[in-house]
Structure formats: structure tokens, C-alpha cells
Symmetry: C2
Subunit: 386 residues, 2 copies
């Protein structure tokens, strides 16, 4: 097991009716900014619940934070935070809204001239305005970590960051929000969480028995409840287990003491940028081919994954590992998520060169758990995914 | 799944050499009190590592905190904390030292006349002096929770408490400390952690699929690495997985959204009080008989436990559940932990009536996950354990 440090101070309030608990978590005299996305919260009743829970608190609103939260839009919110002397942020939404609010929390206290430097220069992340979240879309795990990814159209940049000031003070997870999520988004959430685990689990072995078991437990739960919640999003226990699995997949716990790969995410991000394919779906496209390409390096964990998660008992180690990949692809298909790039776009052919060019432009000479996947390896993996 | 709230702000520093990280966690200008137990840390090199890591910090020491930390002794430490104007506590030890320091953290800021009221009247626990821990004996999980149990010989009381002020700021878990732990104590740690999981897992079903999987993962890991670490405490990976499993067994995570039983602990505590049997061993005595006695109520989870943790594939549900109990007993025996009260004392016969009398004196009419185990049930379970 590798050495690790772990601290996660976010308070989770989980379950039906917990939105009302907002009232206990935000100071009564706070000046609150309520931030949200495209407005679905006004159609599904979540907005009304949040407003009721805020009672008489002095509140301003900022809606319209888009998927892949955009810097220029966030700057408008930042301006309003300062003008209105807001001292508490409340994100009501999915990963994009919450990520955007994390940036705003840091930016509100940042004294430099250019808030983009928080992302570009790794500064100003240790403190932030206090903020909480009401999660409306289980998927990214951002509700219980300090990661955030912000996009900037002007410069075509998309940068990630983390820092002590970026943990939500609290996050409210009410599985009833799953009722009104479109099936396609539920599938995305399942695949996203599944791949978050895979990036921390399908690596070289690290003698972290317990972390492996927990990773396997999250995968098993997603396999168990994923199709149920797709079939009936009002199945409360299925929705609750789906929601908690998404949070646990990326709250830092299973990363403790083990290597992280994250190459699938790095390739997937480029497919989203190039073809506007949903993030989770790019992971379903790249992931299985990444495992096939790096089979020798990953086959011990793939075999363990096959035996423990997919209950494969027959065959040699190599056969079990191969079957585990096939089962994973079949699972994505069961969730109605295609796994070939050509199923998403006709213009797939230049994708591998585009990605290699992007990586080269950024100076990335090696990615993955050992940092030894070259641009040429990446090219081949992407082409296997056509 | 039941609703839950979860927050655990303790920072974990895990791995070989982490004791040196003390230097980054405790303010340089802190006035530190270093607290420890019987002095084994001076024989195994941990004391020297801690002193070196504290560098030039102004430090006073308080040794001699006994197993079942005693109120009268803690009052002496409290006096010294106040006289010396100590503002940071550092517990170097196992569960008793850390539990004692949690009490002192609260007591140091308590303004009432009688510090015992913190325990007896549930007050003064929300704030405490900052404190950190260096864990020397994996078992109780106290290094990453806010629970503490304090004894008072004068009044024959033993009271538990928890509170927001009782979380360690940091805990250092260096698996190398396991090298010098006597085999008997390692066995106790494994059995203690195993039973912490069982109290939160072998209950009525609660549709908490992920929590069940994580609980099963901890049990499987303890089964896997327990005998290895008993056999060779210098096996670093076995020790590391043992240590992290003990922490994860009682840091609140697997209790989220599920019922807790804790009846085995309540009966076990009385056996320790009456016969001075090690805490963990009382759990090995009572646990299996508790499951046998409450078989109908617990058989769904016992069957799941048998199938998933012990890999039992043959037989009816009842047979699998019974076999799971037998496997558990065999595991305790493999760790050289006897499971009958009569193997610990000749004077076992009055134990059931003693426990019933104690429970009655305290007004406990029903215990367990449903609060429906009567003193008469308790009497029968204890007698099954003779």
C-alpha cells in the first residue's frame, strides 16, 4: 500500500426530505446567492423546496450556469457576489453548477487581478467563501470533493483544480431528485461513476486489499442498481444506492494508497471537446479499449475484477481478464450507451490525430498510472475505439 | 436506506515514516502536551520518533494513562494542562490514551465546576482543545471518530460520549508500529474491528447495498490479512490493511443509513467489568450466541454474510446462515481467541444474573437494533455463552 493523506470535511445530509435541513446549515444572517443551471429545478419542484428551506434569508439568484461551466458567465456571477456582498453560496444542480460555485467560492476571496490565475497558476484555492450544495444529478462526485473543472471559450481552455477551500461545507443528497432525471442522464451518471472507480482500481496491483474491496463494492452496487434505476427512477432504494455510489466513487476514499490511472478521462475529455459527446459516453468508448491495449500491465487487476465483480469462475487468468472487459461493454450496452466512436459521429476518422496534437501541444509526453503511455499509444487506443 | 448525516473532518496521515509529518500538523508555537500510556512507546522507538518530529516545540509530558482511562488520573492531566497553559494535545497510544485525550480536549475548555458532567450530562462536547493522535494499536477506530469511553473507579461508572469537539485534527497511522505489538493484542484488534462491523451489518436488512458491500469488504480484508499479521507482524502490507480496516470499521461510514445493533458490546462491557476479560474477547464470547439467539431476525443478513464473506454456496438459507456463524467462531479460534466464557474464568455461573441486574439498575428495558431484547433475552444469551 502506498502512503497517503486523506481529509474530507464535507457534511453529507442524505435522504428524502433533507432539503429542508438547509435551514440548519446556512447561518440565519447569511447573504445567500442561490446558483443553478438551465432552470430544470423550477420544473421539478426542487427550487420551491430550496426557497422554502431558506426561509427569510436575504437571497439573490444566479441561474444559467451551463454544462462545462463557462468562465465568462461565472465572472458575471462573481461581479454580483461582490456588488451584493454575498457571503454564502448555495449550488443547486449537477456537476457543472457545483464546479462553477467552487470556482466562485475561491474567486470571491481572491485578491489578484485575474481570477483565471486561480486555475492557471494554482493559487488562491486554500480559502473560499463558505458554500453548500443540493445535488440534482448523481454522477461526478463533486458534491463531496474539492475538484472543479472550468472551461473558457475565449481561449479554448478547460482547466481542473483542487484545494482545501473547495470542499462544500455541506451537500444535500435527496434520492427523490432522481425521479425527474431523463433516462439518458441517469445512464451517464452510472457510467461516469463506474469509470471513476475503474480509473482508481484497474491499475497495477498495490496491495491495498481494503481499497480494492471498496472499489469492487461500488462497482457491484452500480451493476446491481443501475438497470433498476434506469427502469424505474422512482425506485427509492435503487436511486439512493445509485446516488451514494456516485459520491463514494470520487470522494477520495478509494484513491487512498493506490495508483490512479485517469488516462481514460484524459482521452475522453478530448472526444467531448472535438465531437461534443457526453463526458460519460466518451469513457464508455475509450475505457474498454484502454484495458485491451494495456492488457499485460493491467491483467492482474482485470482478472480480480472479473472474478469478484462479474463472478467469472472459468478459464485462465487471461481469459477471465478478457471476459471482464466484455462484461463491462455489455453493461454499458444494457444502459443503452454505445461504445464505438462511429456510433456517435460520422467524422470520427481524424480523432486520433486531433488528440495526439492536443496532447503534444500541452507537452504531455506520457500519461496513465505509470506516466508511460506515449502519444503514439494514445493514437492506437483512440483508433481501436472507432 | 435510512436517512443519515455524515461528517468526519479528521485528517489521516497513513504509512511508513508519517510520524515525522507531525511537524506539519501542529502549530510551531503550540504549547504541546504529549500523552501516553504505560510507557511501551519508550521501548519500541515511537517516543523518539515523536520527540524528533516535535522539534523545538515547548512540550510537557503526561504518561501513565491506563487501559479503561480513569477519570481521577485524567483530572491530574487536566490540572497540568491548565497550569502549563497547554494549547495542543498529542495522544500517542491506543484506544485508551486517545479516548482519555478526547475527554481532556473537552474538559480543558469546559467552564463548569465538575468535568464529569461532560460525560454524565451531555454538555461541553462541541468544542475542545485541538488534538492529534499517533496510533500505536489498531483496534478501536477512535483515531477517526468522535467517540470516547471514560471510567470512574470511585463510582464504578463507565460512560461513553461523542461530540463535534472530539474528532482528532489529525491521526498518524504508521503500520510499522504493528511490529512490536504482542500477538494477543493483534488478535484483540482483529476481533474488535470485526465485531464493530458486525454490529452495523448483521441486523435486519435496510436496502443499503453499498454500505453492505463496504462492510463485507472490511470483514473479508480482516479475514484475509488477520492470520498473516498474527503470523508475521513485520509483513508491511498485511499490517497496513489490518490498520486501515480497523479505522474504517468505526469511522461512521458503514453506519450511514443502516440500523446499529450494539447489543453484543453492551453485554460484553459487563463481562469485562465483572471478570476483567479483554474487551475484544468478550465480543467473541457473546457475538456468535447473540446471532444464534436472534437467528430469525438476523438470518437474511447472516445468509448474505455466509454467501459473500465466507463463500458458502451450498445449503438452504438457514443452513448457510448457521454455517456463517460457525465460520466466524472458527475464525476467532484461528486467532487463538477462545469463545466460551468458561474458558476465561471458573466463576462464570453468576454472570447472566449480574448482567441482568446491571441492566435493570440502569433502567435498560430493551437493547439491540430494535430495542426489543429484554433482560430475560440477555440472560439467555449470556448463558448460551458459558
Amino acid at each position: 500500500m502506498k502512503n497517503f493523506e486523506y481529509k474530507n470535511p464535507t457534511k453529507i445530509l442524505f435522504g428524502e426530505g433533507q432539503i429542508a435541513s438547509l435551514n440548519n446549515e446556512i447561518p440565519e444572517n447569511a447573504k445567500v446567492m442561490l446558483l443553478y443551471g438551465g432552470g430544470s429545478i423550477k420544473r421539478n419542484g426542487i427550487y420551491e423546496q430550496v426557497k422554502a428551506a431558506l426561509h427569510q434569508r436575504d437571497t439573490v439568484e444566479f441561474g444559467g450556469i451551463p454544462a462545462n461551466p463557462e468562465y465568462e458567465i461565472l465572472l458575471k456571477a462573481l461581479n454580483e457576489i461582490k456588488e451584493e456582498k454575498v457571503d454564502y453560496l448555495l449550488a443547486v444542480g449537477g456537476g457543472s453548477v457545483i464546479d462553477g460555485v467552487k470556482f466562485l467560492a475561491a474567486a470571491a476571496l481572491y485578491e489578484g487581478e485575474e481570477p483565471w490565475d486561480i486555475l492557471a497558476k494554482n493559487i488562491g484555492r486554500d480559502v473560499g467563501l463558505p458554500f453548500g450544495t443540493v445535488l440534482t444529478l448523481p454522477a461526478t462526485g463533486t458534491e463531496m470533493n474539492s475538484f472543479s473543472v472550468i472551461s473558457r471559450a475565449e481561449t479554448k481552455e478547460k482547466l481542473g483544480m483542487s484545494g482545501l477551500g473547495l470542499f462544500p461545507q455541506f451537500s444535500i443528497l435527496d434520492p427523490k431528485v432522481v425521479h425527474s432525471i431523463p433516462k439518458r442522464q441517469i445512464a451517464n451518471g452510472i457510467v461516469d461513476a463506474f469509470n471513476h472507480v475503474m480509473e482508481q482500481y484497474i491499475t497495477y496491483p498495490a496491495n491495498a486489499n481494503l481499497q480494492d474491496r471498496i472499489a469492487e463494492g461500488i462497482l457491484q452496487t452500480l451493476i446491481e442498481v443501475g438497470p433498476k434505476v434506469m427502469n424505474d427512477p422512482t425506485d427509492y432504494n435503487a436511486a439512493a444506492n445509485f446516488m451514494w455510489s456516485c459520491t463514494m466513487a470520487l470522494n477520495g476514499l478509494i484513491q487512498n494508497g493506490v495508483p490512479g490511472d485517469w488516462a481514460v478521462h484524459m482521452m475522453g475529455h478530448e472526444l467531448t471537446a472535438l465531437h461534443q459527446i457526453d463526458h460519460a459516453r466518451t469513457l464508455a468508448i475509450i475505457g474498454p479499449n484502454h484495458y485491451k491495449y494495456n492488457f499485460e500491465n493491467k491483467k492482474e487487476k482485470l482478472t480480480q475484477f472479473g472474478e469478484r465483480v462479474w463472478n467469472i469462475t472459468e478459464g485462465t487468468m487471461d481469459e477471465k481478464a478478457q471476459k471482464a472487459i466484455e462484461h463491462t461493454i455489455a453493461f454499458y450496452h444494457q444502459l443503452e450507451v454505445p461504445t464505438k466512436l462511429s456510433e456517435y459521429t460520422e467524422n470520427y476518422k481524424g480523432s486520433s490525430q486531433f488528440i495526439v496534437d492536443q496532447f503534444t501541444k500541452r507537452g504531455w509526453t506520457g500519461i496513465g498510472e505509470r506516466g508511460d503511455l506515449t502519444p503514439d499509444d494514445v493514437k492506437k487506443i483512440v483508433e481501436m475505439s472507432y
